[in-house]
């Protein structure tokens, strides 16, 4: 064919996205073989050091436990939430959506902080109220345990997981559930045996993705620091040398170990998608499903939602407000009330303008980049019959296992290397590319699950109607992916606004971002202003999310069908 097929755009998009992922992965692998952070030697020292550490098996077990524990908690909440939003007549859908979005905007450390204040054994407010404090364990509650870490990480990961599942749930043909219910199968068994298995690509994606995220997540490990090492601590220590050089070797080899842990899960996922046909549930013979009536279960569902809201949004927001009101960070107490002032809110406001604009720009850029690459990759992975596509997909999946600092460094190194041809080094563009790459896995997870659900006949019908592959891509594939694109974009936007590590390492000073501002204030001990800025940010982001949801018509179906 001599004329240029626009589908090449899609292939090129996928290729660029993939090469960005490779930059990040290669950064980690190359780093693991270096000893001086300058990448000009080759040594396996780091692996020797890491693998001969007698504590390694225990560390690995703890890391695995942390990963599995966290995703168990996450799925316990995320699955029902996604289902409530997408499939039921749950009354507070907008409320739930808002709070899920809000949670995404709350800085992670605040949640950890709040729980430490409440449940630390030596002075925790709850323990104190129960008169049960103790410096050496034995208190009523002891937050310094792996299980608390799992619970808290699990809780905060719920929104992203729910947003990943909603598009998949929305595509599910409602008559499949209806068929089970009319056959006398009770609602929860229907959920367990019909909905869940059909969502399997989505659920698996969430589980595998968040496993990787949970073992790579640092906020909670840093603050709660339960006894014993986990891999992410090794990585953090290696990279955060206060003096001397970051130990890319050790961090990289620990990162490679994370890959290995993740790769098992990812392999399983890839194999599993071979039977993709089973999950093509968005067919061309579709009838709007009725919403599942919660009826007498409505109360229980609400209580369940409120429990999460209180634990994960309520407590941290109250904590943030409190921190914003007092001159230095301290647990709430009667005595501290004397010092309460609005200074933080005013001070924070005075800093906000420029960073907010820059952050908006970064969000937009990151969303566009991540979406473009993700859509292209998803199409190539789910629609081309190429044998390497699943492996490309698996590579993308590995990307979140690369610590953010390593990704940042890899992009800086790449930026420096290609500076002559493409002077992106030191600009926001490079940050956006790095962010986009880090979030690519989230996007492709969400989109792949949705794409697998689209019955091939919908596209076949377009071809035989004389529509080119490109028109079919635009006119049939993309619109059917709209919910997935929306939720992926929402997530990317939120994470881009909140992300600190990448801007911190890559930022050029001329363009302050809100996340960096919060960090700066915080390191300066100006915790009140930091908290106030964080609160402003939450409000802005939630407003944005709600507006986007409304403008794109993505609001979850409400009580349309029942009079």
């Amino acid at each position: 064919m001599s004329r240029l097929n626009p589908l090449w755009l899609v292939y090129s998009g996928a290729l660029i996205g993939l090469s960005f992922v490779l930059v990040s992965l290669a950064g980690n692998v190359v780093g693991s073989f270096t000893s001086d952070a300058q990448f000009n030697d080759f040594t396996t020292d780091a692996y020797v050091r890491l693998l001969t550490d007698p504590g390694l098996p225990a560390t690995l077990m703890r890391t695995l436990g942390l990963g599995f524990g966290s995703i168990a908690v996450t799925l316990t909440f995320a699955l029902p939430f996604a289902w409530l939003l997408a499939r039921t007549d749950f009354r507070w859908k907008t409320g739930l959506f808002t709070l899920l979005a809000a949670k995404l905007a709350i800085p992670g450390f605040i949640t950890a902080m709040a729980y430490v204040w409440l449940f630390n054994p030596s002075a925790g407010l709850v323990n104190a109220m129960l008169g049960q404090t103790n410096y050496t364990g034995e208190a009523a509650f002891d937050v310094y345990q792996i299980k608390w870490l799992c619970m808290l990480q699990g809780l905060v990961l719920v929104p992203g997981a729910a947003f990943m599942l909603i598009p998949a749930l929305r595509n599910l043909d409602g008559s499949l559930e209806e068929a089970a219910r009319t056959a006398g199968v009770p609602a929860w068994k229907t959920f367990r045996h019909i909905v869940l298995p059909l969502l399997a690509p989505g659920v698996m994606a969430v589980a595998v993705f968040y496993f990787v995220v949970a073992v790579e997540m640092f906020d909670f490990v840093a603050i709660i620091a339960p006894p014993g090492d986990v891999l992410v601590l090794t990585i953090y220590e290696a990279l955060n040398a206060v003096d001397g050089l970051p130990d890319y070797g050790l961090a990289g080899s620990a990162g490679v170990l994370l890959f290995v842990l993740s790769a098992g899960a990812i392999l399983f996922y890839v194999r599993f998608l071979r039977q993709a046909k089973k999950y093509a549930v968005l067919s061309g013979k579709r009838r709007d499903p009725g919403l599942v009536r919660l009826g007498k279960w409505h109360g229980a569902a609400s209580a369940f939602v409120w429990l999460w809201v209180f634990l994960t949004v309520g407590l941290p927001v109250i904590t943030l407000v409190w921190v914003a009101l007092v001159p230095f960070i301290q647990p709430p107490s009667v005595g501290a009330l004397d010092n309460v002032s609005l200074f933080g809110f005013l001070d924070g406001l005075s800093y906000l303008r420029e960073p907010l604009i820059n952050t908006g720009f970064v969000m937009a850029g990151t969303i566009i980049m991540a979406m473009t690459f993700a859509i292209c990759l998803t199409w190539v992975v789910t629609r081309s019959r190429s044998k390497i596509a699943p492996w490309a997909d698996a590579l993308v999946f590995l990307a979140p296992a690369v610590p953010a600092i390593v990704t940042a460094t890899a992009f800086q190194v790449m930026g420096i290397a290609v500076y002559q041809w493409l002077p992106l080094y030191g600009t926001l563009w490079l940050i956006m590319a790095a962010m986009g790459t880090r979030m690519l896995a989230y996007c492709t997870r969400t989109m792949n699950s949705a794409a697998l659900q689209i019955h091939p006949e919908l596209e076949e019908a377009a071809w035989v109607s004389g529509l080119s592959r490109w028109r079919t891509f635009r006119g049939v594939f993309l619109p059917l992916m709209a919910p997935a694109i929306f939720y992926a974009a929402l997530m990317v936007g939120m994470l881009a606004a909140r992300d600190l590590t990448l801007p911190l390492i890559m930022n050029s000073a001329g363009t302050p971002l809100v996340s960096v501002l919060i960090f700066d204030l915080q390191t300066n001990g100006e915790t009140a202003s930091a908290a106030a800025v964080a609160l402003y940010m939450i409000v802005v982001l939630v407003a944005l999310a709600l507006t986007a949801r409304k403008l794109t018509g993505m609001a979850e179906p409400g009580l349309e069908r029942t009079p």
């Binding site: 300058q38 620091a225 955060n240 003096d243 800086q412």
Partner: protein
């Protein structure tokens, strides 16, 4: 009253027009204060940008960029760690003493000018929980059984590296090992978290961080009356490929001037131990003060950090 060599830099700096300093995270108000004081000091109007971040990562990035001939945009690297940059020649060699008349004690190798002294080994106590009388008087008082479960400290080897210069290596190793084994300290990864925990009173004793700026806000924490103060310094390093070298030098010289020191103290409670009237200076009074030499740090860093890290890891 400025030396002629310094005077000569002013018009060059004005021609350069701007300056970028990497090293400390400051809020916008503090950046304005820095800019104001700096410009007033030389009667110039230079656009000063201050930014912060992760020093070690940035340093190796600067080294890489320098090797590749790519400008980083940074003029002054304001830090205590320079190994990577020094190795690749990314730092400009400047004879601060002879050319610009700086105090000889301020030189940091052939490159930097010492601007303030750090104190990572400091002990902090929460005054709400512990009276001055109860508080430790020496580092070895930390071994008292009454502190079991009450100490929070960083999982970082650095406080102990500095200490081993002052106390002797084996003594420090023993001290740390005993603390870890007997006192069940809480080990946290980040310094900010350590401060928060001692502030909240959850742990009445903290090692490894200073709280001078918190004290200014009235927080119930103090550094107790301990006999020994170990300091390691930070300074201003001008980059070899700085786009604004004159302004950069002027900034370093301003930072060690009384005006500069006052600004640093005001913003971050940073100062040279010898600058009169600063929090650090006040605290140092009447105490044995040990400066860890810059060269010693470069030399022993790798060995000691691994040694202490191993001990720390045994505790978690």
């Amino acid at each position: 009253s400025l030396p002629p060599a310094v005077q000569a830099l002013i018009p060059q700096a004005e021609a350069e027009g701007e300056l970028q300093v990497f090293g400390a995270t400051l809020n916008p108000r503090q950046v304005r204060a820095f800019s104001q004081s700096f410009n007033d000091y030389y009667d110039m109007d230079i656009d000063l940008t201050m930014s912060g971040g992760l020093h070690s990562a940035k340093a190796s990035e600067v080294a890489l960029a320098h090797r590749a001939g790519v400008p980083t945009g940074i003029d002054v690297f304001w830090t205590g760690l320079i190994a990577a940059m020094a190795k690749t020649g990314a730092l400009m060699e400047i004879d601060w003493i002879n050319t610009y008349g700086a105090d000889p004690s301020l030189a940091m190798g052939p490159w930097g000018l010492r601007t303030h002294d750090g104190h990572q080994s400091m002990v902090t106590v929460n005054t709400g929980r512990i009276t001055a009388a109860e508080a430790p008087k020496t580092y070895f008082d930390l071994l008292d059984p009454k502190w079991r479960g009450r100490i929070v400290m960083p999982r970082s080897p650095y406080p102990w590296m500095a200490m081993s210069y002052a106390l002797g290596e084996q003594e420090t190793v023993d001290l740390l090992q005993t603390i870890i084994a007997k006192q069940e300290p809480k080990l946290l990864a980040r310094y900010a978290d350590i401060r928060a925990r001692v502030l909240s009173g959850e742990f009445p004793v903290a090692i490894g961080t200073d709280i001078f700026s918190l004290q200014k806000r009235g927080a119930p924490v103090v550094h107790p009356d301990i006999d020994l103060l170990v300091l390691s310094s930070s300074g201003a390093f001008v980059l070899e490929d700085a786009a604004h070298p004159a302004a950069a030098k002027l900034w370093a010289l301003w930072a060690v001037s009384p005006e500069g020191q006052a600004t640093l103290e005001e913003a971050r409670s940073y100062s040279l131990a010898e600058t009169p009237g600063t929090a650090l200076n006040t605290y140092a009074e009447g105490r044995r003060v040990v400066h860890v030499p810059f060269d010693w740090r470069l030399e022993n860093h790798d060995r000691l950090s691994e040694k202490f890290l191993t001990i720390l890891e045994s505790g978690s």
